[in-house]
Symmetry: C2
Subunit: 601 residues, 2 copies
């Protein structure tokens, strides 16, 4: 397979997944996507790769080295190159991607959108965070806001004039949103005034665009209500006039920027709301507009969170992917040593790709990043099904998507980070220097197991919520699909059948353990190893996705397909077996972590 | 257990390992250590903790932020705080630690020395690299040099006046030292002149001390001889006069500094030898003094490499350890959420140490860092046996040490790095910022699987060389010790017996797989998964060390001992089972990595 020119993400792999496997062209038969064709999909992918390569990738290291700073006016400022790249992105119309045509959107399938985003996330995860967060914000307003809110706040984002954030965490409340204390006070005119401090706000302040639309969780009711007293508000950095122009500053002020290990070109802000630094309309308090109804803010926000979680997984895949391609290039060109069975010192050194241990590190990366991309595009295809079908089909897709969301968020965050670690290792000492990209990819990717719900939170979401939801329908749907794939693999024979048999065995084991945990009366014990459950569940899911790819790749066997077969073989021999001991641990219902005496740590 | 005041490494754990387990006091019965006592050991540990806390830890972040730079004279310059801290270190006599009394050394056992070094490596891995490398250099010269070389080059290092490096790698030759091209040309006066370029030289240049003694590998014979044509040379930055004073500059010049992901306070240099930038004695060429005999340089250097490899493991443990203690503090004080079985939102949030998943991350770290420390101190104790016994005892200790060296280097580099990753995760978003130490610990620790022989090289060393050496005597000795521990655990009953049974089973499995690989005619296939063998071997070794600790901790059960029992339980339930699938893979003699068509990657 000829190297992809950009070294961001393999376009050949994207095409394999979208067309040979997921048949996204089929979507153009549905009314929502009828204006689209293979040609429009290709055009978006071509354009994205070209723009990412030209305007994003060259500034990625600079964005890391020169973090945003706070200028004399108290505003955060990002590098001009970042602003210029984002102008190119919006000028090309890419910010309109998945939005409805009536809002000026391209109405692109999410599967194609996520594939296209890969190039930008691989080129500069930190720079791409701005349009990504803005789009998520506009998506939520488009889905939950009044027509006026959509027109005033979402459309300018889609047009690339405004940016947007989500403001959930506070210094004392991160994973536990029920403990937020930011207050919203209803005013006579139906607006609210907000008072409080929000932490970890990505894109929370910068000089780009006309203004920034913050989506803020705050409570109108008493603290005792926990998550049930939380509402969602639009709080723009500047008030927006009735004619859509931007007016005076709202009472939102930047307290400081966090200095991070990675993702440094994305501002990450501590924001004060209602500190009186500005006095919109003559009085202190940040003017906010309720989205939806009072006290249902968390549910509304989760509309955005689920998307955000899949996008976190997608970002992790992109960083893993480009690290893989770069370490692959390095391994093909760097010479060192001789094979174990051919140690003649007078022979010239060989490219390190000839060493089995280097191949292990490359094949592991390939299995993680191509597997991760399959997972993300599969989930994106489910999003498309929820948007373009109805009745049972839409419902099934939504249920399956809910189940897989914690996996789509956490599996790439863990394993594509592991891929970046291996990419450093393939480079040896060079990979540890800032002369090569892979150390930055690792640092950037390390954020992904933390934000939008930590790894531990995803485990509790999967085992404590999603598995049992609706009588276990999600797991049932997934199992059905897996069994269908296993049946097809059985008919294929050979290695494919063996892989199917292995998956069938571990799937039975997983279902058995799931039943054991479900019938465990002590909920604390049942959930004690939820992270391990998440990891086992993730690897089983990925084994299934590799079996799916293997079935597609079996005929005809070209170079790309042979690569898929190799990576599948790697996953089944080196990766899936990790699950056995994890399931044994879960089945034992070990209570070590529940009854531990903390003082002995 | 009361928190250790310094949060570097637990002194209580060190005392447990040195005294309750390894009985280092016993060493004071031997002539080499007869001047020592528990009191002198304690004094060195007390002093080290205090100095590390006062002079190293406070400047660790600053050393990371302000990397060494090259001044107008072309010399590398490190922060004044680094120089000041190292002056304190040598003024306290700590650089004399393990050296012979006749060279001005303390003649301290290595077990105590490594324990004391933990504090410095935890406080600032980057700063401690300078005295550590210098000591390793002096050790080699003391062992292999002429009396004059020892007096001229080693003693000033021991006294803290000179620094030292090891110069092995070149831009085109890192793991494969047989390919170095630096040449050494014999002169009429018996000295040599060296010409070539050396890469990745830690401490390769700086303004500290009177000069820097480089130990350089270079070839006097033709390239065709590979490693057999390599000799070892002392090449000082300045020529040293007969009276011991420092004279004119030698022809060694700094080409540039590498900018790394971590370990930033340690200069890492590209050095030119014999470029003619200086002309010692009137002519170009770096003046060098042969150490030992021609063409035996690599063997001589390995005297230092083995020590260096154990010290790499020790450094990895120290970084893991301090990250563990800091995340433990954080988990005790940070409140967030409520337990799974007690979700009342009106109840106050609990310290996150109450959440099972946080406990998992803490207990995992504890099992890695305390296990890693046990491994390092066990190996150090073997070094002491080689130096203070003779005949069979010294020989056995040396053989066992040779076998365990790749494990002592690689296991902590992998798992104590994993500990740092978990320490970040325990801190959540805060751990991803540079306001907390753990992200730097992670970045610093990421070097350890790379330098002094990568992970892959260690795997080949263990499986391809050490396992089969001397008819497998090392493995036989280790197995004997393990079986003895298993017998004692069997007598102890309860969990300890169960753990012993588990270890016995996996040990049999490991030995069986070792035999299978040993009898595999195709050496490339036998070694294809050497890294996996290394990892499995490491986990089995650590399970044994945890069983050893468990036996000591069983009676009486105080808080520290209970902590050991918990960590052992964690290791046997969550960690040792990882080995099963690894051994299955090895037993299958999978040739996937050997026969892979590279073009499909």
């Amino acid at each position: 397979m000829a190297p992809s020119p950009s070294r961001l993400v393999s376009r050949a792999d994207i095409d394999f997944l979208l067309h040979e496997w997921l048949n996204v062209d089929e979507l153009t038969q549905r009314p929502r996507y009828e204006e689209h064709s293979r040609e429009t999909f290709d055009a978006v992918l071509d354009l994205s790769e070209a723009l990412a390569e030209k305007h994003f990738a060259p500034h990625n290291r600079d964005g890391d080295t020169h973090e945003p700073h706070i200028d004399e006016t108290g505003q955060a400022v990002v590098l001009p190159a970042v602003e210029a790249a984002l102008r190119q992105y919006t000028a090309a119309g890419l910010q309109t991607s998945t939005f409805d045509a009536e809002l000026g959107g391209m109405q692109l399938p999410f599967a194609v959108h996520h594939a296209a985003s890969m190039f930008f996330q691989a080129a500069s995860a930190g720079m791409y965070a701005y349009p990504f967060l803005a789009a998520g914000n506009a998506n939520l307003v488009a889905a939950q806001g009044t027509p006026e809110q959509v027109q005033t706040y979402a459309v300018p984002i889609i047009e690339g004039r405004f940016f947007g954030t989500m403001c959930l965490s506070e210094p004392q409340a991160g994973s536990s949103l029920g403990d937020i204390t930011t207050r919203a006070v209803l005013q006579d005119d139906g607006t609210y005034r907000l008072f409080g401090t929000k932490m970890w706000i990505s894109g929370g302040d910068h000089q780009m665009g006309d203004t920034i639309v913050h989506l803020v969780l705050a409570r109108t009711g008493p603290a005792e209500l926990g998550v049930k007293g939380i509402s969602l508000f639009i709080v723009p950095k500047h008030l927006v006039r009735a004619d859509g122009t931007v007016g005076e500053r709202n009472d939102v002020s930047l307290v400081g920027l966090n200095h991070k290990m990675g993702y440094r070109s994305t501002t990450n802000a501590l924001l004060n709301f209602g500190e009186g630094e500005h006095t919109p309309g003559g009085s202190a308090g940040a003017v906010g507009h309720l989205v939806g109804v009072e006290n249902r803010g968390l549910a509304a926000m989760f509309h955005m969170m689920n998307e955000a979680r899949i996008s976190v997984g997608a970002g992790a895949v992109a960083l893993g992917y480009t690290g893989y391609l770069k370490s692959l290039d390095y391994a093909r060109t760097r010479t060192q040593g001789r094979p174990a069975d051919h140690k003649d010192p007078t022979a010239p050194p060989v490219p390190i790709i000839r060493h089995p241990d280097v191949r292990r590190m490359l094949l592991a990366q390939k299995s993680y990043v191509e597997g991760g991309l399959a997972l993300i595009l599969f989930c994106a295809r489910l999003v498309d099904d929820t948007r373009s079908t109805d009745g049972r089909a839409a419902d099934d897709a939504g249920t399956l998507l809910d189940l897989l969301t914690p996996v789509a968020k956490s599996w790439p965050s863990q394993w594509c980070l592991a891929a970046n670690d291996l990419a450093i290792q393939v480079h040896g000492g060079y990979g540890y220097t800032r002369d090569y990209d892979v150390e930055q990819h690792y640092r950037d990717n390390r954020l992904n197991p933390i934000h939008e719900g930590t790894h531990g939170i995803q485990g509790l979401d999967l085992l404590g919520r999603k598995i049992g939801a609706d009588g276990g329908r999600g797991l049932h749907l997934l199992t059905e699909r897996m069994r269908h794939t296993i049946e097809r693999s059985s008919a294929a024979g050979g290695d494919t059948k063996a892989h199917g048999d292995a998956l069938a065995a571990v799937l039975d084991d997983l279902l058995d353990v799931t039943a054991v945990l479900g019938s465990t009366p002590d909920r604390a014990v049942a959930l004690a190893n939820a992270s391990t459950y998440l990891e086992a569940f993730g690897h089983v899911t990925l084994a299934w996705l590799w079996l799916e790819q293997e079935l597609v790749a079996a005929d005809p066997v070209n170079a790309l397909h042979q690569g898929k077969l190799n990576a599948a073989a790697y996953f089944f021999t080196h990766e899936l077996p990790r699950v056995g001991p994890q399931l044994d641990l879960l089945r034992s219902r070990s209570d070590l972590l529940v009854h531990l005496d903390d003082s002995t740590l």
